[in-house]
Symmetry: C2
Subunit: 671 residues, 2 copies
């Protein structure tokens, strides 16, 4: 495919910087508070061709530089001819190397070579003058010379409010659900000052003094607006459901919004006889799409930063929603930044570890070995970066400025934390899996992994408490659910220990509950994993259903049924700090898809996969889920199960039976 190319990873580094610099709060900008990798400003692209006939091509570039055509003459000498960009270059037959030199002070050096034989594609190499001949980055989104890799091709839709309410002397516009959009203000006569009060909730929008995003436009020259026609002005991009216009009680102002989003298309469908569950799926899917941009974002109103932990959960949800490969690749590359690495991802050790695990998850999901090869060096260098902070037992500890997060919870943080070691072990396994996929040696890492697992059991397992303790240094023997959840999730507890954990930790009311939906993701997964499907479905229906009862049209960052009134919108000490459209709020999609419908890949790229629906949970069901490049349809009606997949490799797993799913062949089972 002929597309724009760049130094690998630079597109993602450029755009993630833009993204992480886009947060707004109460009238100011709030860049992410971590070290920000820069893309390469100076790049060389090359490709050698054996031309059998005369051919012509043209180079287009973002940046400044030239094109050099190198040819080795019969006498062994090198002939170099240089050309400016945007000029038709004709090459005679023979072996030629085409070199394109591009620098860019402010932006992303990138080129588009257009020609019949000589054109930019994945076969080109890039150098930043340190790393040579790297496989270039490129995207099917940028295939024409008019495209600009610095401007992402979003889909746009101009929307009018679905409802306008006159309230408190002003107008409250309701767009139905959270959207990310620029606000367009059109005056029928001429400009007049206006105040825009945004809200994810009605309450917030109407709270003129305290809403999180407010824009007071006093003059047509306000630096925050752009005039796009004689009487229309446009604001910056913001996420909201409502806009309140205080003191606007006439028709001379029309507000529309330019809704901007990435159209990932539709893959999954979920429909069951349980209307509440259907609604939960629908709202979760909307929530997830709204938070999926160039990268997987945490939420849309507040941070809009790309967090590795949040993104990691999104990778799982993605598999059961729109199943997009490129957003996963972009997020992986953007988060990782460039080498040499100097700080854990988002400053958080666990987030570095999740990143490593995500590479294995990526491979299992998409099976793309080429991407593995590209990202592998950065996986190894991150591993080395982590290895530099490992103690004699093999445990990773936080060095100065590192954040050992795991979750918002009261851990005994004296010494290395158990949950962190579980993640480290899991990360080792992922590196081992990737090395195996690439045919590399795993011996050294296997030794490390075994030592680590053995020491985890030796230092953290508390037989008396029936679970893993947070930390062994303090002597407090504090037990929280986190490490124990990981132990089961990652298969680090044998049956005996797992049973103890279930009894003494997971189902023990004396152990502190998981408070955050972030970690509830793993908790519910573990409950599903140990077969507590009814518990999971009930949790989904009560927790997410509870938000529906509150009128949610997207799922929230956090929900506590006991919080009422305006309190329920507060978080992080901010009256409207809570995000009401948050990626991890979409976790029912994963839980339902992965465990209740039981669809999952068992070899890279769904070459083989299982479909293990919990048929007893559903009276009627009609759903479609992605399985790699195909789809599987699962239908239940009158205690009859029908499964059909558009690709081969599937196995239908039911209690005590496994039935192959030949491609395009309906399997019907009565139960």
């Amino acid at each position: 495919m002929n597309y724009w190319i760049w130094f690998p990873g630079d597109f993602e580094i450029y755009h993630i910087m833009k993204q992480n610099f886009s947060r707004e709060e109460r009238g100011f900008d709030w860049p992410a508070y971590w070290y920000t990798s820069s893309w390469n400003h100076n790049v060389q692209f090359t490709r050698t061709y054996h031309l059998t006939e005369k051919t012509s091509f043209t180079v287009f570039a973002k940046g400044k530089g030239y094109v050099a055509i190198k040819r080795y003459l019969a006498d062994g000498s090198e002939q170099i001819k240089k050309f400016p960009y945007e000029q038709v270059i004709t090459c005679e037959p023979g072996d030629v190397t085409v070199e394109v030199i591009v620098c860019h002070l402010e932006g992303l050096p990138s080129i588009f070579v257009s020609g019949e034989t000589v054109f930019s594609d994945e076969s080109w190499g890039a150098s930043n003058y340190i790393e040579h001949n790297q496989p270039v980055g490129g995207s099917a989104l940028f295939t024409k010379k008019e495209d600009n890799p610095m401007e992402f091709p979003y889909t746009h839709e101009i929307k009018a409010p679905t409802k306008i309410e006159v309230v408190n002397g002003g107008q409250l516009l309701d767009f139905g659900y959270d959207i990310t959009a620029k606000t367009q203000i059109t005056y029928s006569e001429k400009f007049e000052p206006i105040t825009l009060c945004y809200g994810e909730s009605r309450t917030e929008a109407l709270d003129v003094s305290d809403c999180y995003l407010k824009h007071v436009i006093e003059t047509p020259n306000d630096s925050g607006i752009e005039q796009i026609s004689e009487n229309t002005f446009v604001t910056r991009l913001r996420a909201f459901r409502y806009i309140f216009l205080p003191d606007v009680n006439h028709d001379s102002i029309t507000i529309t919004v330019d809704h901007q989003y990435v159209d990932f298309g539709g893959v999954s469908q979920f429909k069951s006889s349980d209307k509440r569950l259907n609604k939960i799926w629908e709202i979760a899917d909307r929530t997830f799409r709204t938070c999926s941009d160039i990268f997987f974002l945490d939420g849309v109103k507040r941070d809009k930063w790309v967090w590795s932990g949040d993104a990691f959960q999104s990778y799982f949800i993605n598999k059961y929603s729109f199943f997009n490969k490129e957003i996963v690749e972009r997020t992986i590359l953007g988060l990782r930044g460039n080498d040499p690495i100097q700080q854990h991802l988002n400053t958080i050790i666990d987030y570095s570890l999740y990143w490593m695990i995500s590479i294995e998850e990526y491979y299992q999901t998409f099976g793309d070995r080429k991407f593995l090869e590209k990202v592998y060096p950065k996986m190894e260098s991150l591993l080395q970066y982590c290895d530099a902070q490992i103690d004699e037992h093999g445990f990773i500890y936080g060095k100065k400025d590192d954040w050992v997060y795991i979750d918002w919870a009261e851990f005994d943080i004296c010494g290395p934390l158990c949950a962190e070691q579980m993640l480290l072990a899991r990360a080792y396994q992922s590196v081992i899996a990737i090395r195996q996929a690439l045919g590399k040696s795993i011996a050294d890492l296997n030794v490390k992994f075994k030592k680590l697992i053995s020491n985890i059991h030796k230092f953290y397992w508390d037989e008396e408490k029936g679970g893993f303790i947070d930390s062994y240094e303090s002597g407090k023997r504090n037990v929280t659910k986190h490490a124990n959840i990981f132990a089961i999730l990652f298969n680090y507890a044998d049956e005996v220990k797992a049973a103890k954990i279930k009894h003494h930790v997971l189902l023990n009311p004396e152990i502190n509950e998981i408070h955050t939906p972030y970690f509830k993701f793993w908790e519910l997964e573990v409950m599903a994993k140990i077969g507590e499907f009814s518990y999971v479905i009930e949790q989904i229906k009560s927790y997410w259903g509870g938000m529906l009862d509150e009128g949610a049209t997207t799922f929230w960052e956090y929900y506590d049924p006991n919080e009422t009134g305006v309190d329920k919108y507060a978080m992080y000490g901010d009256k409207y700090g809570k995000s009401l459209c948050h990626a991890w709020g979409a976790s029912p999609i994963y839980l339902i898809g992965r465990y209740l419908l039981g669809v999952h890949s068992t070899s890279p790229g769904y070459e083989s996969f299982e479909v293990a629906p919990q048929v007893d949970l559903f009276d009627e069901l009609s759903c479609i889920l992605p399985v790699g490049k195909g789809q599987v349809t699962i239908e239940i009606e009158k205690r009859q199960l029908m499964v059909i997949a558009t690709v081969s490799g599937g196995i239908l797993c039911l209690p005590n039976q496994k039935i192959p799913l030949p491609k395009e062949q309906k399997i019907i089972i009565q139960f």
Copy 2:
């Protein structure tokens, strides 16, 4: 001083990138072919104040972000208030920390805080979220809120040609000497196509098909011009003495140029009874100023890149010309880029070593300990980077992609090169000196230095050849002048060896001559150092005087009296590749100032200095040279020497006598 501040080194990294991306050749841009460090895009600035009374201030910034005011309350809790930029912020008395958060996707994050008590100055700290509380960068050039650190405040002068000649059916404009300028084209009626052929020489400008810089302007929308008034168009910046306008034989087009330069002011004066020498000084000074921009450039027409080797020589010339401290600091910081370092400076090992030596030279010249403290960590990390490629004898060798340059000469490059080891030893000495100045331990480095020196003598000294050989691995025992020049210059040869070197190498016609003016710099210095003053003065008069005879109005990159006609403008395989205004062409200033007038610092910042004029060389002399913050005047007339310095610390050194130079006191000596 209240000035704009930035993360230390970032201003220089930003501008050196701009500079190294500014080269133009035959219609295309030619960025420097090495790895290009990026500045930090995300920065936090902080300063804690103990406010005794209420005070107000305003923050201006390049970039996006906010201002946070942090205050610890009586109960120990922290109170944070956030404000947008450009808003008056009022603080009550007490201890407050002012934090300014700035990100910038395309440019340099920088701030200007304006207020009576709270204002941006050198007392602020900066963080890039990895390195915290670094002493900020700032410059006396950016002291007003309207200033923009991304735009250097050049001096501009609109110039008309000094001479217009009608030739070959067109007009040849002569501006007298090389200048860096934008060309302004004013049409008396309306736009018409025009071709601009630039030349540093008349020959080049008139060579319409082959001149190095040519601009064919076909339409008023040409992307290379900017319309600045109804009938005036301006080109990009180029360096030239001549512009030829082919086919322009009427008055409807007027060409003026917008000469852009950094006005370093005047310090030195040189006037003697030898008019040729005076002219050489004058032309050298012009050459040097023309090549001195934000950074010390190699030349102005061609590369315009900042090369560490070239800059190193400029540091020496600067001391005897305009004595500017800031350009040295900017060049040092820009060349070094940021940590972690990933490539030798300009890819050349010697250039990394010169950089380390330059820090000691800087300190000896300017005595600024604060700058030392800022740059010291980068000196150590560069040392470590070099140390990673040292063999068991302590010798530095080139790793893949490193360029072991030293000079354009035929070295025996089998194994580590002797001259490179001399530079390494000299670099060790510089790090030792700087560590001593900063009160740090030198023990480890002393050991390394001694081992290295001892091995240099053991492996490279050839008693029979009476000199140091290039390399010991091949067995060829090849002798070139380079290592031997360094041995004397750096005092690594004792008297016996030095005498042998002088006889068997330096004055031996069988040893290849030094061809490049770059290394001739060191060769002439060595000849001066060993007392061959007449040789030096004669060389200056013949080599540089030879260029004057060729009509030079600035000094060239290279001069060979045997080259005639158009051939003398060729270099690097390009018909007009030679730079006719090249920084190292100004070396007579250094040779005269340092050796013939004998002025030099003997302790940091010229706290003590020597004045050792070679009185017998001059019939009459009247000159002023900088000595740190003061100046020394040296006059000779009728065998009478008068010396007076505006600062104390000087010693007048004459054969067999040393006379203190008390401040502002004339010393008169008959000889």
